[in-house]
């Protein structure tokens, strides 16, 4: 068993009377694909937002690679190698696809505020960005403005950007949301080879995707984890079936 890369202990976040996270415990092992599932309103996105630092928990701890990052701001966590993608695509709409990825490459580097030479003619930014666009299959859409890409393409771009940032762990919030069957396939083919290289925490509604990709699955209901384990045991778990999978027959 690989050692944990991310440990979440007793994470709690309340919005008024609603506890979106209610003592959430979660352990993600290095190099695995970890699925996080649960019915609508279970608090999956709220959990992701606290892991990435966009929301600050009321109590509990987030440990990334053994370090307590609970109070670190978003950009500091990102620099430690904890990256995320968004449920609603979050790009730079006026930049080209290549600019978008080059931006991610730039921020990973040491001089993200350099004032010297023109960034758009800098091969140390453009070359890795081109390679990543090739990797996600967007090489022929390089010079298209991101706002003008098709929905599935935006998803691919989003993943290229997250990868460009050189993450050790990637939080993927519903990467397949609103994407057709064929694009889903393509995205899965993109994500599967990352196993071992990067740890993935995958929040996803499409059960076929989660059960196909995940090494381990955690089921969330009402802000807490009710079960965690390999896909077979989750599928067999009676409580999980009652709380959640029952809807799917």
């Amino acid at each position: 068993m690989a050692e944990p890369i991310l440990e979440v202990r007793g994470l709690t976040k309340r919005f008024g009377a609603l506890a979106a996270s209610d003592g959430l415990d979660l352990t993600v092992r290095r190099g695995t694909v970890h699925g996080l599932i649960g019915p609508n309103g279970a608090g999956k996105t709220t959990a992701i937002n606290q892991l990435s630092g966009e929301l600050s928990p009321d109590s509990g701890h987030v440990l990334f690679e053994g370090r307590d990052v609970t109070r670190l701001p978003v950009h500091r966590r990102a620099r430690l190698g904890l990256q995320r993608s968004y449920q609603i695509t979050s790009l730079f709409p006026d930049f080209t696809a290549l600019d978008n990825v080059a931006m991610a490459v730039q921020i990973r580097g040491r001089s993200c505020f350099g004032m010297g030479r023109p960034a758009r003619r800098d091969p140390t930014l453009r070359d890795p960005a081109r390679a990543l666009l090739d990797r996600v299959g967007l090489d022929d859409r390089r010079d298209v403005v991101a706002g003008g890409l098709a929905h599935g393409e935006k998803r691919q771009l989003e993943i290229a950007m997250a990868l460009a940032a050189g993450p050790r762990m990637l939080l993927l919030d519903e990467p397949m949301a609103g994407v057709g069957r064929r694009e889903t396939r393509r995205l899965m083919d993109l994500l599967a080879p990352l196993r071992g290289e990067i740890t993935l925490l995958l929040v996803e509604h499409d059960m076929d995707v989660v059960f196909a990709l995940a090494d381990e699955i955690t089921v969330m209901v009402k802000g807490r984890a009710i079960a965690s384990g390999p896909p077979e045991s989750i599928r067999a778990d009676r409580e999980v079936r009652r709380a959640y999978l029952g809807d799917y027959g």
């Binding site: 790009l91 931006m103 730039q106």
Partner: protein
């Protein structure tokens, strides 16, 4: 073949270079003074475009930095003339009349004030940012009104223009060219800046700041640096403005001046750097012409501005230079 943009820029620059001899030849020396003023406000507007057009920061207090620059020149010149010590500074330095001292001091003071105001204002965004920059600028406006040593509401006179060894800055034509060189220099530097990595972050902030942070970029720090650089540019414009009118008063910092700067940026074309030069020329020339017709010239300017915002969103420069004008 040269692009339309290159043609527009080259023609514009040639016109500006050739303007003083032409104005003198036609017996219109006043044009030189008017166009000096245009160049100065163009510099201030271009510095605003850096944060407004590229960084998406709508500051309604940019004229405050023009005022700080102008007062720096005014105060240093005042003490140099009187031979008295400059207050708030250690020692008993009695100012200077040298441009080499006054102008960098103006730029530095404006950048420093911008750094302080920016550090506080950039905690907010959107409408709150507009309101807080406005509030700070008005505070400075009233601060200078309440300084009787420097003329209070009436302002202070410059006893002489800033001295540049070997140049007679008192001569309108010489002064015009000084303004032109500084404006072009600023535009070249600013263009380099917006094309650099720093500039890409700045443009990214306008489009999607949250994503930049998620990628690991401390965006607030970047925006603050941009805010201070823009303040520095406005400070230089202020130093020139003080020299041109040989007079400094708090009116320079009033929020309506900040509003005019935004109008210049919008009119000329936001996010183009050169656009604000066209915007400044258009606004000040219109003011010049329209005030000759009626003192309520704003009645004509207002609808005109609405038309530009509705139908020519890329501004005068965008309209002249075509789609290549704006670098997104």
């Amino acid at each position: 073949m040269a692009s339309r943009r290159t043609v527009v820029l080259t023609l514009g620059l040639l016109l500006l270079i050739g303007l003083p001899p032409a104005a003198l030849a036609f017996g219109e020396p006043f044009m030189v003074t008017l166009w000096s003023r245009i160049l100065i406000w163009a510099l201030a507007a271009a510095s605003l475009d850096l944060i407004l057009g590229y960084g998406g920061m709508v500051s309604l207090g940019h004229a405050a930095f023009v005022g700080i620059g102008a007062y720096t020149v005014g105060i240093l010149g005042h003490h140099a003339f009187e031979g008295s010590a400059v207050p708030f500074l250690p020692g008993d330095w009695s100012g200077s009349a040298l441009a080499l001292v006054q102008w960098p001091a103006a730029v530095g003071a404006a950048a420093l004030v911008a750094l302080i105001i920016g550090a506080l204002s950039l905690r907010t965004a959107g409408v709150y940012f507009i309101m807080i920059t406005l509030a700070f600028a008005q505070m400075l406006y009233y601060f200078f009104i309440s300084l009787p040593d420097y003329g209070g509401e009436d302002g202070i006179n410059l006893w002489q223009r800033s001295e540049v060894p070997g140049l007679d800055t008192g001569d309108p034509v010489v002064f015009y060219y000084v303004c032109l060189v500084l404006l072009v220099g600023f535009l070249v530097l600013a263009k380099r800046l917006v094309d650099s990595r720093f500039g890409m972050v700045l443009r990214g902030c306008k489009q999607n700041e949250a994503r930049l942070r998620a990628l690991g970029c401390p965006t607030t720090r970047g925006k603050l640096v941009a805010f201070a650089i823009a303040g520095a540019g406005a400070g230089l414009a202020g130093a020139l403005a003080a020299n041109q009118t040989e007079f400094v008063d708090p009116g320079l910092m009033h929020w309506t001046k900040s509003g005019e700067l935004i109008v210049m940026v919008l009119l000329g074309g936001m996010g183009t750097l050169v656009g604000p030069v066209f915007g400044a020329a258009a606004l000040l020339l219109l003011e010049e012409v329209l005030t000759g017709i009626t003192e309520h010239w704003m009645i004509i300017l207002g609808p005109l501005l609405i038309l530009v915002v509705l139908f020519a969103r890329r501004g005068i420069y965008g309209w002249l230079a075509g789609p290549g004008a704006r670098d997104g």
